[in-house]
Subunit: 412 residues, 2 copies
């Protein structure tokens, strides 16, 4: 939780955090500022102190809304720095950081840098800054970033927001199910009343619309993949594809609050009208593993053990897994889930990034999403729900929705 | 244009580009791959050769859809590299880049890095890679990035897509105008039929909905700011604010194709019902400068001269400008416009980032957006259209919409 940050900084011998970029769609900045329409800002948080927000003067009122102490970036006279550095923006930006850091009293110590930015520009600016301030130790982190450790556990306000996103998500999923099953069928293909085949593109447009109506957006798109594409875990589905009865559809939807806030993540696998035997058999294996793993989730256990357990269970049912064959494209080919919050993927990790800090701690929110994939047989199945590990150790799916495979068509 | 990249690389003595990150909402990667649902990828383009796309095996079919030569990231055995580096993901990622670069024959020369990523992680990984491969010169660029130079000039297909976004944008603006002027008024405040005041939040929800219906999204939000907020150029407007007659409303809308494609950018200033004299006077100054500058735009002229010209014109009308007073918060406080494309702001630049390469070259698309701001007087006005510099040198606003200040209310 946010209140853990100073302790985490102390434990990791970190003197300050430097966060850069916009306040929207930029999880670390959103987390520390609360969001808002800041197209570019910098933030410096010293250990034990409130973060200081450096804002563009055009955005001074948006910056003030955060309630943080603020400083105006124009105080550092960028144009003069640009002249001094002969028009080199990289050097001028590094010099501006130097002035900002000196002003807040940071001339030595460990600083971790965060925030969405251009990879090359960041490399160049912070290399230059490191040269300018050799007593600072500038660092960057990967998937086990310290700040992710704080973000992994959610407070009640965050849970409320995620639960609301869950409600929106399952409402929209229900609307999609209603829409599909209300259509007419011609030669096993869903068609409109004037005989026009309905496409995956049509369905996705409706999803975007229904999400927007509810104050949500889906910046990462939606997976709605049928047949062969359902057998490729991250195929988003071909917008031109028709909707055919009896084919597995993997529908994975992961919207966030409009403006780039908290995510929800949810998957169902559907067969319209009826399911062929091999789809039912695949579904039953996934469903059984989903139920088993859900029942076994336990407070403070390591996430990795559930990935192992899932491999055990699938292997016992005769499927290959990425554990039994790391290069397999068939069977169980991904990790069981991931933490969820302002990032669509964050700590705790279940897969290869997992460490002993990735546990089902009180307050974490994780997805549980076992799946099986057989692209050559045009088959795929995944079931996913988002689970909150409550402070009392109970597990709660943040928004319930039936797990059914077959969606019966309403018109005969 | 994309076809200029090799020549630009030659002129700048660049041997390769390395682009990282997702293919959506990541302009450089979108530009070189055409987009698609790739949540993480790397791309290496050597001068004179096609880009090679390195994909996550779960996304192999999405990668194949790009039509580029591809390589599977799992060929580089990340888990082994992670073991070798004692669990340090930064080192393991640098070692993976090293293997990828060696495989494509890049062991020396100048490489420019691009792509959305975490600033700190990028700094750390590429610093490590630079240590591992000292004969390479890894570079990053700022606002005058070489690839931005190619992206500045659009081909006909890109113009088509931007024009379509323009049509969607002005359609939605028209719907907003209709919605507002159809409401009832009570004590100068817009109210619904059951006397509930309409808020800016309500209007923004409708905008998101109408955009989604048309296959667009607005990842950066919308500016819809009334009264005092209209006087702050980048205040996005307070969602709780009511809509009052006779107050200036700055409505700046900048949506993009769903999934993170081409943007459009458009602003009108409205007064509902009537406009007070001081709003009319402000509007007339902005309108006159808008018309004058639009008329003076000329093929291959430097963009900077129009910023200067705008300052001349506003100063002649008695306003402060950022040229006459760099710290002013009143008058004309921003630059005249910017290039537009896969970025909401890109080359050519009109403001402080402008160089002699920022010209109205054939094929560029720019915004022209003069404005005046008086927050203490609760007044602001900006008019903005998106202009295509056609290959024949003619200027074309990509989607026309009336410039009117006053929107008469339909009910009396």
């Amino acid at each position: 939780m946010k209140s853990d940050i100073d302790q985490l900084m102390f434990n990791n011998n970190v003197d300050a955090l430097l966060v850069t970029g916009p306040a929207q769609h930029n999880p670390y900045m959103t987390y520390l500022t609360g969001g808002g329409h800041l197209t570019y800002a910098d933030l410096i948080k010293k250990r034990g102190e409130k973060p200081i927000l450096f804002y563009n003067p055009m955005e001074r009122e948006e910056a003030a809304k955060t309630g943080l102490p603020t400083k105006n970036l124009s105080n550092y006279h960028y144009l003069e720095l640009l002249k001094e550095s002969n028009g080199d923006h990289i050097k001028a930006k590094a010099m501006r950081y130097q002035k900002m850091l000196i002003e807040v009293g940071l001339t030595s110590g460990n600083i971790i840098i965060y925030g969405n930015a251009d990879a090359g520009e960041s490399f160049a600016i912070f290399s230059e800054l490191q040269n300018l301030m050799p007593k600072l130790i500038l660092q960057g982190e990967s998937s086990n970033a310290m700040l992710l450790q704080a973000m992994a556990t959610k407070d009640n306000h965050e849970i409320q927001r995620m639960r609301k996103m869950g409600t929106i998500t399952t409402e929209v999923v229900g609307l999609v199910a209603d829409f599909l099953t209300s259509q007419q069928v011609k030669d096993d293909v869903l068609v409109t009343s004037d005989d026009k085949p309905i496409t995956i593109g049509d369905v996705k447009n409706k999803i975007n619309l229904w999400l927007a109506e509810r104050g949500a957006e889906n910046p990462e798109g939606t997976i709605f993949a049928i047949g062969h594409d359902a057998g490729i875990p991250h195929s988003s589905g071909n917008p031109q594809d028709y909707l055919r009865l009896g084919k597995t559809i993997v529908f994975d939807i992961f919207p966030c609050e409009a403006g780039g806030g908290y995510f929800y993540d949810f998957t169902r696998t559907w067969c319209l009208g009826y399911a062929p035997d091999e789809a039912i058999s695949l579904y039953e294996d996934v469903h059984a593993v989903y139920q088993q793993v859900m029942n076994e989730l336990h407070l403070n256990k390591r996430c990795e053990i559930y990935q192992d357990r899932t491999c055990d269970l699938f292997e016992a049912r005769g499927h290959q897994t990425i554990r039994s064959n790391p290069n397999t494209l068939e069977g169980y080919v991904h990790s069981l889930g991931h933490g969820l919050g302002l990032h669509i993927h964050e700590k705790p990790w279940f897969g290869r990034s997992a460490s002993d800090k990735d546990i089902l701690a009180p307050g974490v929110v994780v997805t549980i999403e076992p799946g099986l994939y057989y692209p050559e047989r045009n088959l795929g199945c995944r079931l996913e729900d988002t689970v909150w590990v409550k402070p009392d150790g109970k597990m709660e799916i943040l928004s319930q929705y039936p797990l059914d495979l077959v969606l019966p068509m309403k018109r005969k």
